[in-house]
Symmetry: none
Subunit: 309 residues, 2 copies
DNA sequence: ACCAGACACAACCAATCGTTGTGGAAGTAG
DNA sequence: CTACTTCCACAACGATTGGTTGTGTCTGGT
C-alpha cells in the first residue's frame, strides 16, 4: 500500500469525481482509475461506488477515509521530523550530566517556547562533531576546539567556561582543604576514566598534566559513575576532576568532597560550533543566553595554550 | 514514500544489519540497501550509519524511527478497518448530526481504546438496515423498529430516547414560549423535509401527526440544512422538529428558537439492532454505556403505539 | 435515438524494483 | 603484512509497476 494511492483515494472522496481528483493530482483520469482499482484490489473491498454522476464513498470507503487521512498525516509528520530547516534546533551536549547539558536545560527552562532537542553524538571527537554540524546532523555542538582547527563553514564561539574541581574521598590528603592549587596535585594520582584517545578531552587533560606535572591516568575503562565514586570513596590516593557544574549523582553516603582549584583555576573551555550563517532563531537566542547569563569565570584561569582566550 | 521502505527501515533499525533485515523481509540484502538508499534520498537525510559491523541509527534515524513506526501502525489499522472479519465495530448512526452519532461519539471519547467506526447507511430503511446487520455489512444500527418487525437473527434493544423539540424562527407565534404541548401545534405547519417515504422516520412522523392532529409536511425535497434554516427564520408559520441533542449548525444570525415539548413529550425511540449473539466486546460496552449513561427521559412521553415501551 | 459525462479497458513506453554478480572498506586471525 | 570474513554499495538485467493516450461501455438527460 502506497501513499500516492491513499492521497488519490482521499482526493476522489473529497471531489466526488475521478477527473477532478486527477486534475488535483496532476495526473490523468485513467491513472486515478488504476490507482483506485489497485487499492481496492489490495484491500479486497469496494471503496467507491461509481455512477454516471461521479463517485461516492461506499460503506467501506466511509470507514477507510479517516484511516487514510490519518496515515497521510502521520507520513507528513514523519517527513517533517527530519526535514532540514523546519525542525527543532538540535544541540549536541556531549553528555547529559555535564555543564553544556545543564546550560542548555537552563536556557530551555527560561525560554520554554524555544523548540530544541538536546542530543548526544556518540563516539565522536571535536573534528567529527564539526563535520556533523557542517552536514546538518546537528545544528550546534559544544566542543573544545582551537580557532585554527575550526573547519571552513563552521562558526565557533567560546561560550561556556567550566572551572574544574577536584573530587576526592574522605581519606584523601586534600579532603579537608578549602581549595587547592594545580601544583599541589603534582605526584597525586588523578584518574579520569573513560576518556577515549583522540578526543579533545584527552588533549585537554594531557595539556593539563604536562602544565602542572600531574600524573593523570586517563586509560582504564569506565565502569560507570557508581564504580568511580566507590573507588574514590575508598582510596586515599585517588582523585578525579569534575566541572564545577557537573551533576554527577553521588549519594551523600559516599562522603566525597569537591575541592575548588585556584591559582590558576583550570577551566574547560566549551566552544559552541554551528554552521556559519545559520540564522536559526533558537540558536541565536541560545548564544545570547550563554553570553549573558554564563557563570562568572575567575580571573586567574588556565586553559591549554591551543585554546584562544 | 512507501510502506515497504518504512518497514525495511524499521527492520534494519531493529536488527542492526541489512542482511538480517533482508532475511526478515524475505528479500535480498541488495534490495534492502536500495530501499534504504531511496528512503534516505527522498528524505534528504542519512538515517543509518554503516560500519563493517552493521548499521546503527544516525541522529535523524533516531528521530525518524518512532514516526516510521507510527505510520506503519496507522497503515495496519487502516487495513484492519476494512478487512472482512476481525475489524473494528461498525455502527450505523443514520446521520452524523443526530443523537445516535453524538452518543456513539461520547462513548468513543470515554473509551478511546475501543476500536469502532461510525458510518451512515445511505438510502436505507429499517428493514434494509436490519438486512445489512444480518449480512455483516455493519455490526449495529440505530433504527426505530417495533418488536414484531425485528427479523429473526436480529437482536434489538431500545437504548436511546430522544425528546423532540420545536425549532422555529423569531416571527413564529410560539417563538417566545418557554415550552409547548404537542396539542398546541394542531393547525400549525410542521415541516420535516427530506424524509423519504417507506422509512421508519416517515412512519414515526405519520403517527405523531395522527396522534395530535398536526399538519406535518414531510414531502418536499431537502435542499440542505442551510436552506431549511433560512426558510424557518423567514417564516411565521413554518416550524420543524429536531431531537434535543441534534447538532445542526445554525448560525446565531438565524435567531432560531428551540421550544421543548411536554405533556406529553414526543420521543424518538432509537433501537440498536445487532446480530443475535454477537459477542463483540465493543458492542457489549456500547450497549452498557447507552443503558447507564443515557440522558434522563421525561416521565410523560409519547411514542408511536407500534413501539414497545 | 442520440449525445454527453463518467469511468474502465487496452496498448504502449518509461521508470521502478527485484534479482544475481561483483567490488571495496574495515575488522580479524594467522 | 597478508588473507579472510563481514557488511554494504554498485552494476546489469529482467519483471513488474505506473504513467500516458486512445477507445469502449454504461447511463441519464435532451
Amino acid at each position: 500500500m502506497n501513499g500516492e494511492a491513499l492521497r488519490t483515494f482521499v482526493a476522489v472522496a473529497e471531489t466526488g469525481q475521478f477527473q477532478a481528483a486527477a486534475d488535483e493530482l496532476g495526473i490523468s483520469q485513467q491513472a486515478v482509475s488504476k490507482r483506485i482499482a489497485a487499492l481496492e484490489r489490495h484491500l479486497e473491498v469496494t471503496l467507491l461506488v461509481r455512477t454516471t454522476r461521479g463517485s461516492g464513498l461506499s460503506l467501506d470507503g466511509q470507514v477507510f477515509l479517516p484511516h487514510a487521512k490519518k496515515v497521510l498525516t502521520a507520513l507528513e509528520q514523519a517527513e517533517q521530523a527530519v526535514r532540514p530547516g523546519s525542525r527543532p534546533l538540535r544541540v549536541d551536549v556531549l553528555n547529559r550530566r555535564i555543564a553544556p547539558a545543564q546550560a542548555v536545560y537552563r536556557f530551555y527552562r527560561s525560554h520554554p517556547e524555544m523548540h530544541l532537542d538536546a542530543v548526544t553524538l556518540s563516539n565522536e571527537n571535536a573534528a567529527q562533531a564539526a563535520r556533523a554540524v557542517l552536514e546538518g546532523t546537528v545544528d550546534a555542538s559544544f566542543r573544545a576546539l582551537s580557532a585554527e582547527r575550526v573547519p571552513a563553514g563552521i562558526s565557533a564561539e567560546r561560550l561556556l567556561d567550566v572551572p574544574l574541581e577536584l573530587l576526592v574521598g574522605p581519606a584523601h590528603p586534600l579532603a579537608d582543604a578549602p581549595r587547592a592549587r594545580p601544583a599541589d596535585l603534582a605526584g597525586h594520582r588523578v584518574w579520569i576514566p573513560g576518556i577515549r584517545p583522540g578526543t579533545e578531552w584527552a588533549a585537554f587533560y594531557r595539556a593539563l598534566s604536562e602544565a602542572f606535572g600531574l600524573s593523570i591516568d586517563a586509560l582504564g575503562p569506565h565502569f560507570g559513575d557508581e564504580a568511580l565514586m566507590d573507588a574514590l570513596a575508598d582510596s586515599a590516593a585517588l582523585a578525579t576532576l569534575v566541572g564545577s557544574g557537573d551533576r554527577y549523582l553521588w549519594p551523600q553516603t559516599h562522603d566525597l568532597r569537591r575541592i575548588p582549584l585556584h591559582d590558576p583555576t583550570p577551566v574547560y573551555p566549551h566552544v559552541l560550533l554551528s554552521r556559519s550563517g545559520d540564522q536559526h532563531p533558537v540558536l541565536t537566542a541560545l548564544r545570547e543566553h550563554l553570553r549573558t547569563s554564563g557563570p562568572r569565570t575567575p580571573d586567574d584561569v588556565w586553559t591549554p595554550d591551543w585554546v584562544d582566550r
